[in-house]
Symmetry: C2
Subunit: 306 residues, 2 copies
């Protein structure tokens, strides 16, 4: 049996949040359902943030309520704080993803607080979550863990400190996020090792961007270090409104191709994933989609992992 690698599709959240055009709620749901039909088991469907800040996410509550009806799908919502977590819980989200910036500059721009204040907020959030009758999993996203377009280089020790704080606050899992896509493979390896040495298996996965063309190579570096969970975005959409210079997420189609080719099972059917890409394009026709596999087509040599 192949080893499993978990892919979480973040397109409906990270991909749509900076798109100049908006996708309708029905189109979002059709796209999410198509990805679930392709075997995607985890989808970050939206974020509970003020609609005046990110209007593309204004329908997140409805998207969550409808997405949790899709059989077998784990529905994730991004939330910036306790209030967002409460909204996500009320809507029925299975998991929440909570961004915490490692760098001061991004933390202030994105969340209007320091990393230390974010960790304190996480403590309150975890206290509330653990007191609920239905336990919602909490994933902390350690943003700008591999560089920041505002602060520049982010020291590994700073990543370790923030992750240790998040682990102490009781989060279930931590994703290291290369929010602006400045990371390179050697750095991925070093930071993963350093963080794992501090917090062990609470380090769960990588959220990578392809700003400098390193997305797939960085995923490979993470894979080599034992990472078995990745966020990615169909069509390589994505970016961060508060991270100047950031571009799209690592492309789901290309990532699945690499993983399955290498013998890692993702549970995702590539032809059906390309069908889901058609729905993304239909729902957001003005947005250019990225990815090499969709352009070239699935090669005749491809064999999915057994």
């Amino acid at each position: 049996m192949s080893e499993h690698v978990n892919i979480c599709e973040v397109g409906p959240r990270d991909g749509l949040q900076i798109a100049p055009s908006r996708m309708s709620t029905d189109d979002k749901l059709a796209w999410i359902a198509a990805m679930a039909a392709a075997g995607m088991r985890e989808i970050e469907v939206g974020s509970f943030v003020p609609p005046r800040v990110i209007p593309q996410m204004a329908d997140t509550e409805e998207v969550v309520r409808r997405a949790v009806e899709i059989p077998g799908l784990t529905v994730i919502a991004l939330v910036p704080n306790l209030r967002g977590a409460q909204n996500a819980w009320n809507a029925g989200a299975h998991k929440i993803s909570v961004p915490v910036s490692v760098s001061e500059g991004h933390s202030r721009a994105n969340l209007n607080r320091t990393p230390a204040e974010s960790i304190a907020e996480m403590g309150r959030l975890m206290g509330w979550v653990k007191a609920q009758p239905r336990r919602m999993e909490v994933i902390a996203g350690a943003s700008t863990a591999f560089g920041c377009s505002i602060d520049g280089t982010v020291p590994t020790a700073q990543v370790v400190t923030v992750c240790a704080g998040l682990a102490a606050a009781g989060v279930d899992k931590i994703m290291l996020a290369d929010t602006v896509g400045y990371g390179h493979p050697k750095q991925i390896r070093e930071v993963v090792r350093a963080v794992r040495a501090e917090i062990g298996p609470v380090l769960y996965g990588l959220h990578l961007h392809d700003t400098l063309g390193m997305g797939i190579a960085n995923a490979l570096a993470g894979l080599d270090e034992g990472i078995r969970a990745f966020d990615s975005c169909l069509g390589g959409l994505g970016g961060c409104p508060y991270a100047p210079g950031a571009s799209g997420n690592v492309v789901t189609e290309d990532l699945v191709f690499m993983l399955e080719s290498m013998g890692f099972s993702t549970g995702i059917d590539l032809p059906k994933l390309l069908d889901a890409r058609k729905l993304l394009h239909a729902g957001l026709p003005a947005e250019p989609l990225h990815g090499q596999l969709p352009k070239a087509g699935i090669p005749r040599t491809f064999r999915a992992a057994a």
Copy 2:
């Protein structure tokens, strides 16, 4: 001191050969000079093939004659056979690159002979080269070593057999070429190990394409296996006229960024390389250029290898 990785820019040959428009000889030379000024020490400047077959390469003799005047630059020409080698030698080329297809289908389509016939031709070619008063280095390019769009999967044993034949024919070095870009990192590692076990240090480098988005990750896999030489193409141009479905070479700009970021010295200055890209665009304005680093710009966190 950093470990050195050798980059050979193949844009003036692999990049231009399938471009629908033609670059003038003067523009080629200006572009080549700019890349040399950026620190590129090896450039494949053209191919000695019949102009009726690849008209973009009709001026290769003049390009070679003028390029060898650039101080410190090693000038490489692609040649398909002994006659091409003689033309390259007469023009003063320092090295030649001789493609030999591993797969039967690509061999017949590209070279109109079998791999075994190519190896026999290589024996004659090496005999002639070694008899000359000036020794021209011979690099064999083992094409379709990681898959073929005509034959499909290429067994590793077949790659080993062809490389062993080329080594026995006396070539100086062998580049394993992912001509159609079907390779994935696990395969790169396996084939590199198998070929090295057979021919040792005659295995020199990797020639990668980015058809399925694996180019940079495959370079990383090769690097992990001790490969220290790569072909690449500025702007990710390139493809093979006899390999349907193939797309551009791995992008030089992104590759140099990865290597230098990881502490491997390439001798190449990234800002000057981006200047050279401007000359490529000026000489071939209709051609879309690829690469993420050029789009995003060199990040403030970048430090070249010491």
